[in-house]
């Protein structure tokens, strides 16, 4: 990675970092990730403005989920740097990044099956607050409980809030995934195929939830369903073989002949 700062300009560097902290939710600079000889990510440069919504598209194996893992810290990048809200978090563990306002959902629901819906969301709300080691039972009038109830209502799960997560339908589990990601004042959310396996009705419910998110929350969404992905974002990044292949607005990407040939198929956009 190239060193961009020089000893002569520390003040200007600090100033530009301060400006970028307010402007950019995420800055990836030359991020690569290798698994032995396999290059899963190669030289990825992405900047995401605060409140921006972007889709990352690409065929299976393009490196989309690896990109998310590099951002969240599940895998450290082999080279390159990750900045969240202007702060270099490349070497920070996952839980420290989460405390800086980053959230994610998973391609396959990662929930706590032995606990109830309200417990799941309550723990998500408590994750960034003090008292995580408290041995006292939480009272109903606790602020985290109130927040959990609000989030459950926001993803339409009020009727099942005391049900065990293992007993929820697949669609309800996906909704719960989103509730967990919304807990605790997120500023950047990574949605990993949130519509996978959902029925058409559940998909339109998902679009409704995503469109209703507060404007200050930036997000990146990985999604194979173009009807969902292109309706909820302002910009699109196409990936192929671990590299960024194309960037643009949803319209530009949808009408790009190369993208159509490689990813969308010949029939897409014909009408």
């Amino acid at each position: 990675m190239q060193q961009t700062s020089t000893p002569a300009t520390p003040g200007i560097d600090a100033l530009s970092r301060l400006q970028s902290a307010g402007r950019y939710a995420l800055e990836l600079e030359a991020v690569s990730r290798h698994f032995g000889a396999l290059v899963a990510l190669a030289d990825i440069n992405i900047t995401l403005e605060a409140g921006e919504r972007r889709a990352v598209l690409g065929s299976n194996g393009a490196g989309k989920t690896t990109l998310f893992n590099a951002i969240t810290g599940d895998f450290l990048p082999t080279t390159g740097s990750v900045r969240l809200f202007g702060e270099d978090v490349t070497d920070l563990p996952s839980h420290e990044r989460i405390r800086r306002g980053l959230r994610r959902t998973y391609q396959i629901s990662l929930l706590f099956g032995g606990l109830s819906v309200i417990d799941n969301v309550y723990l998500a709300c408590r994750g960034q607050r003090r008292g995580r080691y408290s041995l006292r039972r939480t009272k109903r009038d606790d602020s985290s409980m109130h927040l959990a109830e609000t989030l459950i209502a926001a993803v339409f799960l009020e009727d099942v809030r005391h049900s065990l997560v293992a007993e929820l339908s697949y669609g309800q589990q996906r909704q719960l995934e989103i509730a967990l990601a919304l807990a605790g004042a997120p500023r950047l959310i990574l949605f990993d195929e949130p519509a996978a396996g959902l029925s058409p009705v559940e998909r339109s419910g998902l679009v409704e939830i995503l469109q209703a998110l507060p404007k200050h929350i930036a997000y990146i969404i990985i999604e194979h369903d173009m009807d969902v992905a292109l309706r909820v974002v302002e910009s699109v990044t196409m990936m192929h073989n671990g590299r960024i292949f194309k960037e643009g607005t949803p319209e530009e990407i949808e009408n790009d002949p190369e993208v159509q040939e490689l990813y969308l198929g010949q029939g897409h956009g014909a009408d």
């Binding site: 959230r103 990662l110 309550y122 009272k139």
Partner: protein, 358 residues
């Protein structure tokens, strides 16, 4: 199925099953009709072993970490009572006041358990079992070979509880109540805290540690904290155990006893804090009375067979068998209830049909 609600006040009164009042009353009046043998050798010993197994249940049932070093923590507390307090072996026995020795012994056991946790949380599943077993075996050999501190193979004898308020606390009835007080205190604490933020977090880490990290939790620190709390439980039980036996030697912390604790927890059931106590009672009864059925040298065969049968037919232990029975009874009662309702509805339908026809 609804899970328990998060509420402090509901824990104390509303959620208590009436059967619990009967059990509590029975435990309180038990010494009035039981012989000293049953009070001391059966009940008090079961409560102590159950408390050590409770520390394992807390880690394994709620945290998904099967630690075989719980008896080592209890054993360390027992050794420290002999070293810091008084013993009759003419080695060590620093003569500290009993209460100070108890506090230091329990805290040292908790610290030991925390260190075990700090090593073990880097592993999962079978590797946690192996690494904690290795620690338990290392501690056993260290105690056996160290004569300066642990008095080697012989260990220590003559370690007695204090005579306080004019009561000799090793007499069967006082010792039973002391054991009951400690066991019920930790039972209540574990049950209560299982619904606390820490308890819920621990269960969530068991279900999905990766997700918990993604929610901002330091999962390693949570697991280590669980080892600390389990060390407090094991250490306190270790003090009671050394007072019960009045002696401690490497044999008290050997691999066979380590496995006994695991057997107690598994046979009892790891899904609820009552499980270890059920397992301990079953184990102590077998240990005491299996020789009536079979040769003294072979009573472990009976215990092993019972263990095998329980695991084979109820992976959730005795507790699982009990819960399955309750479920079947409820279903049968519901079936009878709906049948009687149907017959009432049927007869009323028939009556209404008759009256319509008339």
């Amino acid at each position: 199925m609804d899970s328990d609600h998060l509420s402090a006040e509901s824990f104390i009164f509303k959620n208590l099953n009436p059967a619990i009042y009967i059990v509590v009353a029975f435990l309180l009046v038990y010494p009035l009709f039981a012989s000293n043998y049953f009070i001391f050798q059966i009940a008090a010993y079961s409560l102590i072993l159950g408390t050590i197994a409770l520390s394992l249940m807390m880690l394994a049932g709620y945290g998904g970490m099967v630690s075989l070093a719980q008896l080592s923590a209890a054993g360390l507390a027992g050794y420290l009572m002999a070293i810091l307090g008084q013993n009759s072996s003419d080695v060590m026995g620093l003569g500290w006041p009993w209460w100070l020795a108890v506090i230091v012994a329990i805290l040292s056991a908790a610290l030991f358990s925390t260190l075990v946790g700090a090593i073990a949380v880097r592993t999962e599943g079978i590797y946690t079992i192996m690494i904690t077993l290795a620690i338990a075996v290392a501690f056993f050999y260290f105690a056996r070979q160290n004569y300066v501190l642990f008095n080697g193979f012989t260990g220590y004898a003559g370690i007695l509880p204090p005579t306080l308020f004019g009561i000799n606390w090793r007499d069967p009835i006082p010792f039973y109540y002391l054991s009951l007080f400690v066991a019920s205190g930790f039972f209540g604490a574990v049950l209560y805290s299982s619904r606390s933020t820490f308890g819920l977090s621990l269960q969530a880490i068991r279900d999905n540690p990766r997700r918990m990290r993604a929610l901002g939790y330091n999962t390693s620190m949570h697991r280590i904290a669980a080892f600390f709390f389990s060390g407090v439980i094991a250490g306190t039980a270790g003090v009671l155990l050394v007072w019960f036996n009045t002696r401690i030697s490497p044999g008290s912390i050997g691999v066979d006893v380590v496995i006994d604790i695991l057997v107690i927890a598994v046979v009892g059931g790891m899904r609820h804090p009552i499980g270890p106590f059920l397992g301990a009672l079953a184990f102590v009864l077998l240990q005491n009375f299996a020789i009536d059925l079979i040769d003294r040298e072979r009573f472990n065969t009976v215990i092993g067979t019972v263990f095998l049968l329980v695991v084979l037919f109820s992976p959730d232990g005795i507790l699982g068998i009990w819960q399955a029975l309750i479920r079947k009874l409820k279903l049968a009662r519901q079936g009878n209830h709906s049948q009687s309702r149907q017959s009432v509805t049927g007869s009323s339908d028939a009556t209404s049909t008759d009256s319509t026809q008339a």
